[in-house]
């Protein structure tokens, strides 16, 4: 890997997640009770972390429980490209033997540590490697080097791929639930709740292909979010459905998070990032650009976009 990120470059990084998570924001009416992410604030994340691995940041005496450690992660794809790439159009390259085979270095040495009960927003422009990073964290895309360690297998919120459009919503709940690892009994117990949450009571017997995109997105979200995950990754899922369903799904994600889970949220909506996250990681061109307080990182990210 030629272009290993030097972490010293990332000095702008905030050392740890926001201890004193911003007070309940304007969505607080949705979720009863206070947000609890700040409960472990005293553990000063500022402590020189000389004993901890580079980039993972935790001090030895940190009382918070790490649940995900990402260690110098590199992900590459080999893709057969057709014709010449717009960027690499130097004539001579066309005649080398590797013509047509391009290696895409999607994630270039990302390291961080996520702690219990954190809600981490992942931001970055299109193609910056966010989704690849998340897929690697859940173990779906194998890393080229480096590793991800987790206390339990992280899950990507989504079941869409397991569903069959020709079958009814009802059948798809069974299929999706089993795909998520429920037993049949558990699926039956959850069925009612899923249908109600997706607001599809009247249409659940119809084939899914007859659903509008919003309806099927709602169903997919409802099935996926029915599961209590210890570590959950949500990739732009908040952007489904109409405004009302969006609010409800955000509330549901918050609920999942409060139930002792750790959530990663990949989104382009700075508003939902600021609303739900207690820490933000900015990925730029496969490199961890910044990591810390939502307000600060989002601001820096917006600055860079200008």
């Amino acid at each position: 890997m030629a272009e290993v990120t030097n972490f010293d470059d990332v000095l702008r990084r905030e050392p740890g997640p926001g201890g004193e998570g911003p007070a309940p924001r304007h969505m607080s009416g949705q979720v009863p009770g206070e947000r609890r992410d700040g409960g472990d604030a005293p553990a000063s994340p500022e402590r020189p972390a000389d004993s901890a691995p580079a980039g993972t940041g935790p001090a030895a005496g940190d009382s918070r429980r790490p649940v995900v450690v990402v260690d110098d992660l590199h992900v590459t794809y080999k893709v057969y490209s057709s014709g010449k790439a717009a960027g690499a159009a130097e004539g001579r390259k066309l005649f080398t033997r590797t013509r047509g085979l391009r290696e895409v270095h999607a994630v270039k040495g990302v390291s961080f540590t996520a702690y219990e009960n954190e809600s981490i927003g992942i931001i970055g422009s299109n193609g910056s490697g966010k989704s690849t990073l998340m897929r690697t964290i859940v173990g779906l895309t194998p890393p080229a080097s480096g590793a991800v360690y987790a206390s339990s297998r992280p899950n990507l919120l989504g079941v869409g791929a397991a569903l069959i459009p020709d079958l009814s919503g009802d059948k798809n709940i069974t299929l999706g639930g089993l795909a998520l690892g429920y037993t049949r009994k558990e699926v039956e117990a959850l069925r009612e709740e899923i249908v109600t949450f997706a607001e599809l009571e009247d249409f659940i017997d119809l084939p899914m292909k007859t659903y509008s995109s919003g309806m099927s997105a709602r169903l997919k979200f409802a099935i996926a979010a029915s599961k209590q995950h210890e570590i959950l990754i949500v990739d732009e899922a908040l952007a489904v459905g109409d405004a009302r369903f969006r609010q409800r799904s955000e509330a549901r994600i918050r609920e999942i998070r409060e139930n002792a889970g750790t959530v990663f949220l990949v989104s382009h909506s700075m508003k939902s990032i600021l609303d739900t996250c207690s820490r933000v990681i900015w990925i730029n061109k496969g490199v961890l650009e910044m990591d810390g307080e939502p307000d600060i990182v989002v601001k820096a990210y917006k600055e860079s976009k200008k």
Binding site: P66, T136, P142, L156, G158, A162, T174, L175, L180
Partner: protein
């Protein structure tokens, strides 16, 4: 302290690490409901889109048997095995189970890339589910096959029941083949292009349509070679059990049982070794 030590001290495990074979199989067994539901749903979905629905499961092999029966019946002339219609029906119907398991099994990982990349489960579920799907479709096919046999003048006998354990072994064999092809296809997509040819070659060489003894009368070596062809063994046993005077060597049972178990176990191990590889994009 390295990240690995730090992770180990906090009881974190590496994500996506391939589990040991026993626990892998245990995880796969825990997903058996999913495997079954996926197989059933796929059958339903494919039936929903056709007017004749489930009927196609039997219509297709029937038409195949008719076509091959007619063509090869004429071509072979006097070399035709006795009771040719029943002979062909059994051959074509059972071979269909093998060929669909192999071709669909080969695509079970690459063809479900979205599923593989969005949910974590033992990947072995997918090829197994494909074979199960074909096994479920074989049930009505077998029923119709027996109806044809009776209609074509073969009286029912107790030995027909032996077809059940035979199909069980056949399913094991097909699962092994599907697992091996599934992994090979992940490494080399081009295999899906060549597989239809492979099935066709096997179709024409495994005695689906002809009697090996008659065709290779002059070449006893070939007859011995066929004694070790697992597909020929299956078809011979099935014909021997169903038809009246088509004796088969009793040694075919243990031989095919060995083939099945070895292929099945080899398939599982071969597939499991590359478990971490399946999510990758290329």
């Amino acid at each position: 302290m390295t990240a690995a030590d730090f992770a180990a001290r906090n009881h974190l495990k590496r994500v996506g690490a391939r589990p040991a074979l026993p626990s892998y199989l245990k995880q796969a067994w825990a997903r058996r409901d999913f495997v079954f539901e996926l197989a059933r749903s796929r059958i339903q979905a494919s039936n929903n889109s056709n007017r004749l629905g489930m009927l196609w499961v039997v219509i297709k092999p029937t038409l195949n048997a008719l076509m091959y029966g007619a063509i090869f019946g004429i071509l072979q002339g006097a070399n035709r095995p006795e009771d040719f219609p029943v002979f062909v029906v059994i051959g074509v119907f059972l071979f269909e189970f093998f060929s669909t398991s192999m071709t669909q099994g080969a695509k079970s990982i690459t063809g479900n890339a979205a599923l593989v990349q969005s949910l974590a489960f033992p990947r072995i579920s997918l090829p197994v589910s494909t074979v199960l799907q074909n096994l479920l479709q074989l049930a009505p096919m077998l029923a119709v096959m027996f109806v044809y046999c009776v209609a074509l003048g073969t009286p029912p006998q107790w030995s027909w029941l032996l077809v059940l354990p035979l199909v069980g072994l056949f399913a094991l064999f097909n699962t092994g083949v599907a697992l091996i092809c599934a992994r090979l296809t992940v490494h080399l997509r081009d295999i899906t292009q060549i597989l239809p040819l492979v099935t066709r070659v096997l179709f024409y060489t495994s005695g689906v349509l002809f009697s090996v003894e008659k065709i290779f009368n002059a070449y006893p070596v070939m007859v011995t070679v066929y004694d070790f062809n697992p597909l020929y063994q299956v078809l011979s046993i099935a014909r021997g059990c169903i038809m009246q005077d088509h004796p088969y060597p009793a040694i075919y049972w243990p031989l095919f049982a060995i083939w099945s178990v070895v292929t099945f176990v080899a398939g599982i191990v071969f597939f499991w070794v590359a478990e971490e590889r399946y999510g990758r994009g290329n």
